[in-house]
Amino acid sequence: MAKVRGAVVIDKEKCKGCGLCVDACKFQVLQLSQNVNLKGYTPAFMANAENCTGCTNCATICPDAVITVYRVKENN
Amino acid sequence: MSELRLMKGNEALAEAAIRAGVDAYYGYPITPQSEVMEYLMKANPEKTTGMVVLQAESEVASINMVYGAAGAGKMAMTSSSSPGVSLMQEGISYIAGAELPCVVVNVVRGGPGLGTIQPSQADYFQTVKGGGHGDYKLITLAPASVQEMADFMKLAFDLAFKYRNPAMILSDGAIGQMMEKVELFDPVPRRTDEKVAEQCPWATTGRKRGTQKRVITSLRLVASVQEEFNIKLQNKYKEIQEKEVRSEMLQCDDAEFVIVAYGSSARTSMKAVQIAREHGLKVGLLRPQTLWPFPSKQIETLINNGVKGFLSVEMSAGQMVEDVKLAANGGAKVEHYGRMGGVIASPSDIYEALKKFAK
């Protein structure tokens, strides 16, 4: 059975740390960083990358269009 | 072939707009210029030249419709009378700030406020000294005949596009309502969209892939950027001042005194000059056809030729007289004569004022 694996790349300097993606993710993949970026925001990052399915919910809700989503089918 | 007709000033202007290949007229009715839109609606140029004629919900909307169409590179115009033009000032300032070419016609009536519907020239300051906010200038044409109502329509657009600057035709109720013989120029076809794109590369007509987007805006936000833009505007204005002054001089060659008057005041003054000459007064007439740029050099020249005084005749409390004084710069006596609120000074009234002035 094919398993779907996903990943996101977040432009951390453009992320404003609003946290909407964190809430939108059903698999708790994302969290806000403890560290601030150059603009003083705490950007989101993949805390639990292995849970990501590439569903694009985070990118869909992101107001700043800073998330790129990747998805592959992994054959077991 | 040009065509001879008897027309009202307002009608001649409207017909000239169609013939000049104007793309769009947006307006709102107000006396004494409603004939402009009435004429256009009746002529229905949408069927012939494709010119759009739309009655907007307000003057505020009209001028902003003009902004939109002008920003897309089209020849767009509106017309109104004093109270309506006051409402348009915001839009005019934006258009000047976005450097868009368009034509606004003001068939001036008596004010302030709702005032009267009779002819007046009390909107001179509003037109040539700003009106809206910010350092900007309107190229201002002052027709004094029905013929000029037609001719200046085309000229106004030519100048507006040449300099990417809004132009105003500052007329008045008398010129708008009177009928005279007019020789209409041959129709010019409306520019094709390709021609618009070629002439106005800055126009927002849809960004072609691989090219820079175009933005029409007057917002610059950063003071230094705004100043840089203001300097550019001022340089443009300087060029217009140098190249685009238009005026007519009548019987000025041997004149000791000169009336300065535009629009319908120039017509009544012309007759006053005739009367004065019959009475042995050496009087001439300087008729500015452009109010901005103002014919300051012409006044200087007249002073050098020995003119002792200038009487600014206006249907206002004295507005253009300030520009005459600035141009004379103390070199000659300058006074104002005029009636207000829509009252027209008759040729004999002007002659009496002239007699007193020349003493």
């Binding site: - | 519907i117 008398a174 009177m178 005279e180 017509r267 009234d349």
Partner: protein
Amino acid sequence: MINEEIIIAGFGGQGVLSMGKILAYSGLMNGLEVSWMPSYGPEMRGGTANVTVILSEERISSPILTSYDTAIILNQQSLDKFENAVKPGGILIYDPSGISNPPTRHDLNVFSVEATKAANERNMSKIFNMIVLGGYLKVNPVVSLEHIEAGLKKSLPERHHNLIPANIEGLKLGASLIQRENFYKAAC
């Protein structure tokens, strides 16, 4: 040399403005410079209407005047307003119906034309103004009948061109009806 400054004044609805327009158009057809300056606005509605028409061989200076070569007067208010504005030796034409105090100046050429009466008798109220105009042109043939006909063609919409013969008839009728009221003989 032609330089005729005319005021036409009466009630709104008497055809004052259109009479002026036909006259101006006829002047144009005759190769003259012309101007037509109406009083406009609220005073037009229900009140008096007037129009200044100038026909000239030269460039016209002021379309707005305070004295006239000719006054064509169609009601009492207009007579009161404009009788004194006619230049000495000028022409004053009036329709006696509705005039209770006839003109009194002796330095004018005064004429009357019973246009209202004539139009009513013939059931031709529409051409009332043409009767008056016909009277004026008889006194001062500043334009010819042929120019008037051309002027009518230009100033009337095409759907009304069938009315031109009636208008011409009105002009002729006016010419036959106009009467001199005094015998002032100075040049006019």
